[in-house]
Amino acid sequence: MAATATGIHHRSYTSELRLRATKAEYFRLGLTLALLVVVPFVLDNYWLSIVNTILIAVIGAVGLNILVGYTGQISLGQGGFLAVGAYTSAILTERYGVPVLLSVVAAVVATAAIGIFFGLPGLRLKGLYLAIATLASQVIIEFVVRRDPGGFLTEGAGYIDVARLNILGWQVERSTFEQQWYLILAIITVLAVVAARNLFRTGLGRSFMAVRDQDIAAEAIGVNLTRAKLTAFAVSSGYVGLAGALIAHYTEIVSWERFTLDVSITYLAMIIVGGLGSIAGAVYGAIFMSLLPVLIRTAAQQWGDAVPVLKDQLPAVQNALFGAVIIAFLIFEPRGLARLWQRAKDYVRYWPFRY
């Protein structure tokens, strides 16, 4: 249980409901916003492209955490849902000429609908059983996009080319591609994160948490379990669909190779490392797990000559460290980076006392 801030007195319910109460919190918020503004000016295109992929991963991870961390349902179908979002948006834009904004919305809706469908087993199954049921969703969706029955998805090509992003006549430019995408992704990500944060201050969000903590008790106090679970699947998949659609337009090509089971596992790792049941945790986890392989590669390029195994076996080293990090977190801090950050803040706030 995180220590509560002592010495803060609220005079009204509105004040108590505020997302941020202390000056330090406002200071950190300001710092984060300043960082977001500065990033495109200090990073080169390569690092900015990594930041852009991280921003997309943040949306996906927040979506998954709504389902797994907050509602206690399990999903191994993240890769599949990303594919639904990506293919829907790409096909609508490229083949039917739907404006990008509408096709992204359609992708969110379509993925939410598919999410509800594959969430149905969640009404009867829990834990490991549900995990395997959602694994089926990954396998089925991956099978469909990979085999592409009848050539409906890619018209036999195996991939879909997506034109450069064009919103109401405004087109992303080649020379400032990463910078413009950064702007778009940063805005969408901030909105998505704030929306998720606020979701858990509403009755709906609280019903999700009640289902997670004890579903029978939740039902006894009047939570409609069916509705809560299916809504959680819908909201979560909607987020993932949004991330998928953004992947399609950002990378400008959609092929099944990007939406495999590995992706589902990486996203689960993000929220485990970041912290289950914490929006901030999903953000930290997405940043950490996306940066880890990049940093390992950079290290390998720097010190590859001194430690040849680092360079010769790079992907193996990356996978091994990926596993080691998850194990380390499960052992030492199962509540992830979010909890570590919380403890660091508490330490500073209560120093020299321990609590």
Binding site: S49, Y159, T251, S255, E257, L314
Partner: protein, 401 residues
Amino acid sequence: MIRNRFSLVAAAAALSLGLSACGNGGGGEGDGGDAGAPIKIGIIADLTGATGDVGTPYNEGMLAYIDHRNADGGIDGHKIEALSNDYAYEVPKAEQLYKQYVNDGVVAIQGWGTGDSEALRTKVANDELPFMSGSFAEVLADPEESPYNFVVAPTYSDQMRVALNWINEDSGGTGEVAVFHHDSPFGEAPVADGQAWVEEKGYDLGYQAYAMPGGSANYVGLLSQAKSQGAKYVVIQNVASPAAQVAKDIKDQGLDMKVVCLNWCGNELFITTAGADAAEGHLLIQPFAPVTSEKPGHETIAAYLEDKGESIDDKGAAWVQGWSVMDVMAQGIAKVLDDGDEVTGPALREALETMGPIDTEGLIGDGTVEFSADSHRGSTSTGVYQSEGGQMVEVEAGARP
């Protein structure tokens, strides 16, 4: 006094700062118009992924060529600086590497797989970076679809056409063909074109495609499906190790089937992995001359390796392939420099399109590779080999569809 000393120190600091700033500026100008500046090329390699068995020697061949060329003084006095990294056959990793290379200012890219080459197709066009790769998918040879991709050898589809022509003749016009392919864009690349070829030529061949599940210990199940199809020929579009497993299984099951390997399994690695016995008699479609075929281009390689204390006999077709593809790119760069131009992506593309036939000394197809503004298909001719006594024996040189 103290104040004086302080101002002296301050002045000295300011002076040294100013001097160092000047020094930087002067150094930049002092390079003298890029004479002898290295030419940066990015290499996206598969060393440890699903196609690492042939990806590793391909990468080694490429790096060996660069080493050889640099030791020889580089291209027109410019050294080649290769940035080579393993992407383990994962598309997102290839994209990250690509962006890193672009940021590092490379003038061209040597890629690897079909899935990632296709994924990067529009990006290399936007960034105007000529892109060659280990993928010979048909779409990459069409400048309208992929304006900056160059395919130095016959496409997988052309290789499949050559294979089908041969099967049609060998079977006397009525055969059953099972196509076993890697379960990826690479594997699927020639499948539909093969079917279309059978129809176009009016061949009376049965044709059925089967995806090879990755990581299989054996392909007995797949072979029994092919058997019930009545297949006498198994065309394999995969890398050497799984294809060798198919050959072993055919022998173990005592099946009367002939394997026809395309490019990435049509090499010595297939024979050594399967064992000479199991590989005996199978057909290998290989556009890049294996060492046993003793083409003039092999002499340069042999001399280079001898200097390094190695032997060309230890190197397979995939190694030669990496060497040759890098050679074609280097010849394009040499042309740009000969014309007195600066080496940029667009200049290299134009050089490759307009320089006419590129002599590969017999290493690729019938020996010459030629691109044009209408076609980035470097060659349509390929060698056809048969595995005899553990060796690749030439059946036909320069076969065309």
